[in-house]
């Protein structure tokens, strides 16, 4: 048996490590840009771009304090569960020109459940810390999960429904279907407006999913001193910090997969002749640029432009406006499809 026979196994083992490394490094780079650009928008100089890397290194050198009355095994395992779930999510997502590592072994529904885990882990960590502030933060995280999952589910089902009509022979919930058949060119004007509304809703859902202003009620520093993460220090907090960075990459990639799965190579292939690896590099750099723009919109602009909502306002926003918007979008896409058939 030649070494080439072992390649799929080697790939399967090393892909999670490579993806984890990519998610962490690029997530921290995006965090650095976020802090710098937010500072410039507020007429401040801001920290250097590499500040998030320094923060993580420092946190990992600090003492890892576990509160007296905490449940240590839950308290310590919460950041590991959170980070592990996000690395797993990366395995199901297409990264730029590369197909998902586990694309043939799980669909969007699986990914939806995996994406609920980091929030649940943070909630468990908060409840297990024995701090009243953390308990309030954990309760708020629970409310957040209940709030943003509903419009997100409607968005996913709208896409799947449309794909099931357009391509009855393909798996409508498969991310590979999403990447290979972008919806924009398969809808009429009503469907186009519907997709635009879905995009805006998805951006707003992502801001809530990554826990940034105006939806940062779970860690609201000025109200509950950091909420669920209040008692976390050292490597536990460092790992939550890294998980937060990876979450931006995961959610950004999800938006790209839904709405912008285009690669430059497919547009420019007819005009330039380049080797395969050069096109892969160009497409990957294009993906990084798309991620940067999405991160800028859903994290930086949102948190600079809007003040924090109250808890009940967040619920009203997601279950009211965001859900209504996604249902209107669904109706438009259905009308577009029925009219077009």
């Amino acid at each position: 048996m030649s070494w080439e026979n072992y390649m799929p196994y080697i790939y399967a083992i090393f892909a999670p490590f490579a993806l984890a490394l990519f998610g962490i490094i690029y997530g921290l780079v995006l965090k650095g840009f976020d802090r710098k650009l937010a500072a410039h928008m507020q007429w401040r100089v801001g920290p250097p771009l590499r500040q998030p890397f320094y923060d993580v290194l420092k946190l990992f050198e600090k003492e890892n304090i576990v509160p007296k009355n905490a449940v240590p095994w839950i308290f310590n395992s919460a950041p590991i569960i959170s980070m592990g779930a996000l690395i797993l999510a990366l395995l199901y997502l297409p990264i730029g020109p590369f197909n998902p590592v586990l694309g043939n072994y799980g669909d969007l529904i699986v990914l939806l459940y995996i994406l609920a885990l980091p929030g649940l882990a943070m909630m468990l960590g908060g409840f297990s810390s024995s701090s009243p502030y953390s308990a309030v933060g954990a309760q708020r995280e629970f409310i957040m999960i209940l709030s943003y999952e509903f419009p997100l589910a409607i968005i996913i089902f709208t896409f799947a429904w449309k794909y099931s009509i357009l391509y009855p022979n393909l798996k409508a919930f498969s991310l590979l279907t999403f990447v290979e058949h972008p919806l924009w060119q398969n809808v009429g004007i009503l469907g186009f407006i519907g997709l635009l509304i879905l995009l805006i809703t998805m951006l707003v859902v992502t801001t809530g999913e990554v826990g940034r202003m105006p939806f940062d009620i779970a860690d609201a520093g000025t109200e509950i001193s950091g909420g669920a993460l209040l008692e976390y220090t050292g490597k536990n907090l460092g790992l939550f910090y890294l998980a937060d960075a990876v979450k931006i990459v995961v959610m950004g990639t999800l938006i790209i997969t839904f709405f912008f799965p285009y690669n430059l190579s497919s547009l420019l292939l007819h005009y330039f002749s380049l080797p395969h690896y050069a096109w892969l590099t160009i497409d990957f750099l294009f993906y990084l640029l798309k991620l940067f723009i999405i991160s800028f919109v859903v994290v930086t602009v949102m948190r600079v432009a809007f003040p924090r909502f109250r808890v009940d306002q967040v619920v009203k926003f997601y279950w009211g406006y965001a859900t209504l918007a996604s249902l209107i979008a669904l109706s438009l896409i259905v009308l577009d499809t029925v009219g077009g058939v």
Binding site: P16, L59, S131, A160, F173
Partner: protein, 115 residues
């Protein structure tokens, strides 16, 4: 290999479990690289409560009644309506049951084909 497959989706739980274990292992390896010591049973591991003695035991936790606060507060119109409907009178519950059963039957009959 064990898997669930429908016309629109698929899931291989064993593959997911293996991938989960590898992902958690990576997270654990990162976590292990950090400092693990701290000064046990000193002021250091007291919880923060703005300088006051923190509440102990169950007082430090959110009661089950309040877990969904915010959600109930935001959707109070719906919840108040539901509370009014759940008045504890068995006749009302049976009335609802018969009413909804009649409604479902009418829908089925109008829809046709099912009967």
């Amino acid at each position: 290999m064990i898997h669930i497959e429908t016309s629109s989706g698929y899931w291989y739980p064993i593959i997911m479990l293996i991938a989960f274990i590898i992902s958690w292992l990576i997270a654990y390896l990162i976590w292990r690289r950090g400092e693990k010591s701290y000064k046990k049973n000193t002021e250091e591991d007291d919880v923060f409560f703005a300088g006051n003695p923190p509440p102990q035991g169950e007082l430090a936790h959110i009661k089950g009644n309040n877990l969904g606060w915010g959600f109930v507060e935001a959707l109070d119109g719906f919840y108040n309506g539901m509370k009014r409907m759940h008045n504890g009178i068995i006749n009302d519950y049976v009335g609802w049951f018969i009413g909804i059963l009649a409604f479902v039957l009418i829908i089925i009959i109008l829809w046709g084909g099912a009967i």
